[in-house]
């Protein structure tokens, strides 16, 4: 079956490429001359060049000069026009009476963003993993039309963050659908996005709504990789469903759960788009998260301070590097375990 599908895709690919086949011929003569100089193996450099050029200019180079940016001050854009201030930007970020009390800090917004992000990460990740796990378990049951149900939960994953934000702004507004339901149920309508705690809760719910399908899918793939005969053996032993879950499903799903956990962590730390559209960081600063802080300080606010934004982004980057290394470590361990099987 897979072979057939592959065959069709391959043929489709050939058909798509046929009209632009002339490209092969147009470039062939000069590239053959190049190949004569480099040898066939030397052509690797040619094939690698475009990607690495873009990569170098737009990823590596910025990454390196980011460190320099974080050690300069003033509002000028280009590095040459900026004054060197050493570690002052970091000093400013960390000058605090008490780290627990943002108001005592010089950069109170930074610490508000840090604590908001931390709270968001803890709550959102817990909620995301739990909902994704339950969804995956439900989808893994013997269902009619499973691909339909899978699609139901996956649907919001493809929506743009702006669309997600606007959909939920419309639902949560004062006269929105949610208040209609509250009203019909006899409750008092709430101004969801204007009350601090409700707005914060909304950012968590909306981001879980938007992404849970993706993680459920990863977990579902993990569940389907668990051999069926294990469940059949447990059924023969008369094991109760909850015990099957704790003793068979969960341990065997652990590697996938770890991957999902770290991936959600990495994404949650960077949360921006849908929250920015949904609440704009408000009310007040109650949903101001780190990326928005960097964006505002670097680009949007009256008192633009690119150096400060750089310093903050490097701190966030350090956290992400640690998380990614953990993720790669897990991936490698899973791969080795897969080989051992």
């Amino acid at each position: 079956m897979g072979d057939v599908r592959n065959g069709i895709a391959t043929r489709a690919g050939a058909m798509i490429l046929a009209p632009v086949g002339w490209l092969a011929n147009v470039f062939d003569a000069p590239l053959r001359m190049l190949q004569r100089r480099t040898g066939s193996n030397g052509m690797a450099v040619f094939f690698l060049a475009p990607n690495m050029l873009v990569f170098g200019i737009f990823v590596l180079f910025p990454l390196v000069i980011n460190i320099l940016y974080s050690m300069t001050g003033g509002g000028a854009l280009f590095l040459g026009d900026r004054t060197f201030v050493g570690a002052d930007q970091y000093g400013r970020l960390f000058s605090c009476g008490s780290y627990l009390d943002p108001k005592s800090c010089t950069e109170d917004l930074f610490w508000i963003a840090v604590w908001n992000t931390l709270a968001f990460v803890v709550l959102q990740v817990a909620m995301m993993v739990a909902v994704a796990l339950v969804t995956a378990l439900v989808l893994n049951r013997e269902l009619r039309a499973r691909s339909f149900w899978r699609a139901v939960f996956f649907f919001p994953v493809l929506l743009s963050p702006v669309v997600v934000g606007l959909i939920w702004r419309w639902i949560l507004q004062r006269q929105g659908l949610l208040n209609l339901m509250v009203f019909e149920a006899g409750g008092t309508p709430v101004n969801w996005l204007v009350e601090r705690n409700w707005a914060f809760t909304a950012t968590i719910m909306v981001s879980v709504w938007a992404h849970v399908g993706f993680y459920a899918l990863i977990l579902l793939a993990g569940l389907q990789a668990i051999p069926k005969d294990l469940y059949e053996a447990a059924e023969m032993d008369g094991t109760r469903p909850l015990r099957v879950f704790w003793r068979i499903t969960l341990p065997l799903l652990a590697p996938n759960l770890l991957v999902v956990l770290v991936l959600t962590l990495i994404r949650a730390v960077q949360i921006f788009d849908e929250v920015y559209v949904l609440t704009g960081g408000g009310p007040g600063t109650s949903t101001l998260f780190l990326t928005q802080y960097i964006y505002e300080v670097g680009f949007a606010s009256m008192l633009r301070n690119p150096g400060l934004a750089s310093a903050a982004s490097i701190l966030m980057g350090a956290v992400l590097v640690v998380l990614t290394l953990i993720q790669l470590g897990i991936a490698r361990r899973n791969e080795q375990r897969g080989k051992m099987r």
Binding site: Q35, P62, R150, P161, F183
Partner: protein, 350 residues
């Protein structure tokens, strides 16, 4: 109906309902409502007139209230169905409302003012789709321009991504050269560097290149995706090296090998990457928000966000534009859902 229910709820072995079955259906039905409901409500609302949108509680179907031009009044008057004391119903036009009493006239007999308690009248409405919500953004705003910009960014970025990533993946999977593992390490390392970490310096690079407020400034930084290179390389590793050697014996140049052998055989992986790239680029928000400050170059996402800020009260336009923005992604979803979900399960990329 019962047969549908029987089909849907039929259980393996036909035994009774276990609590896990109940929970399963609770979760599925709940998921159906929560996942699709909000988007459907948005689509539904986008067909309502501003007046209907302002109503609370909102109606499910898009209604417009009927109006009539009545002799002696300049503005069109809203029509109501008025229940008489004897239970009969007639249609009257409202002139003004004073407290709980409305002053109304019969359109057929405009001279006589009739006083009606507002308890006894209901607006006369008919179902109608406010298509104007969709037409106006194209005519009165730059929505079409944004749409064009978004299509340009999406198509060009995807084509460049496919070309450069597949070339790099070819080099990294089918050649042995010094520094290959170093390049791989570099690409792995940059998986750790999301855009949000290099916003400031990237912005200065783009500005220095004169790409600020240019769509190319949006496109270029996105095309060297490490995930794309990874995924294609993984796929190309499964293509046997003997094919390439056979092609070399067949006097094919390396470029021909890439274009005529490798690319067609990588088609399934290229298709997956193409779909993802289209969705990624169509949905990009933060970076275009930074690079694009002039309205002429806005993409849909940035434009929509700006509208949502500016037209805060004109939700009818915002809703319609949101729906239009959603359409391409929904189409991708409907037609390629199975392809995408298996692609994710296989490669874990998003």
């Amino acid at each position: 109906m019962s047969r549908v229910a029987e089909f849907l709820f039929r259980r393996r072995g036909g035994a009774g309902w276990h609590w896990t079955d109940v929970f399963t259906w609770f979760w599925l039905i709940g998921g159906l409502i929560v996942m699709f409901g909000p988007a459907l409500w948005l689509v539904n609302s986008s067909f309502k007139t501003p007046a209907a949108l302002a109503e609370f509680p909102p109606t499910v179907l898009p209604y417009v209230t009927a109006e009539a031009i009545v002799e002696g009044y300049e503005e069109p008057l809203q029509l109501f169905e008025v229940r008489n004391d004897d239970g009969s119903v007639r249609v009257l036009a409202e002139v003004r409302r004073l407290g709980t009493v409305a002053q109304m006239v019969d359109p057929a007999n405009p001279g006589e003012i009739i006083r009606v308690n507002i308890q006894n009248r209901t607006p006369k409405r008919s179902i109608a789709f406010a298509l104007d919500n969709y037409v106006q953004p194209f005519l009165a705003f730059d929505f079409f321009l944004y749409l064009r910009n978004s299509v340009f960014v999406t198509v060009v970025a995807t084509l460049i991504t496919l070309l450069t990533n597949s070339m790099a993946a070819f080099a990294l999977s089918k050649y042995n050269f010094r520094g290959r593992s170093a390049v791989m390490m570099l690409i792995v390392a940059t998986l750790m560097v999301p855009l949000s970490v290099i916003l400031v310096p990237l912005y200065s690079v783009i500005s220095a290149m004169g790409l600020f407020n240019s769509l190319w400034g949006v496109i270029l930084p996105t095309v060297a995706t490490p995930t794309g290179v990874f995924m294609l390389r993984q796929y190309m590793l499964t293509i046997p090296d003997e094919l390439i050697e056979a092609a070399r014996m067949d006097k094919a140049s390396e470029w021909q090998i890439y274009w005529r052998i490798i690319l067609p055989l990588t088609a399934p992986a290229l298709a997956v990457l193409a779909i993802f790239s289209v969705v990624w680029r169509w949905n990009d928000f933060l970076w275009p928000l930074i690079v694009l400050s002039r309205k002429e170059v806005y993409t849909l996402q940035v434009g929509l966000n700006t509208y949502a800020g500016e037209l805060n009260v004109q939700w009818h336009y915002i809703l319609a534009m949101t729906v239009v923005t959603m359409i391409p992604v929904v189409l991708v979803f409907i037609f390629l859902q199975r392809f995408i979900t298996t692609g994710i399960a296989g490669s874990g990329l998003k």
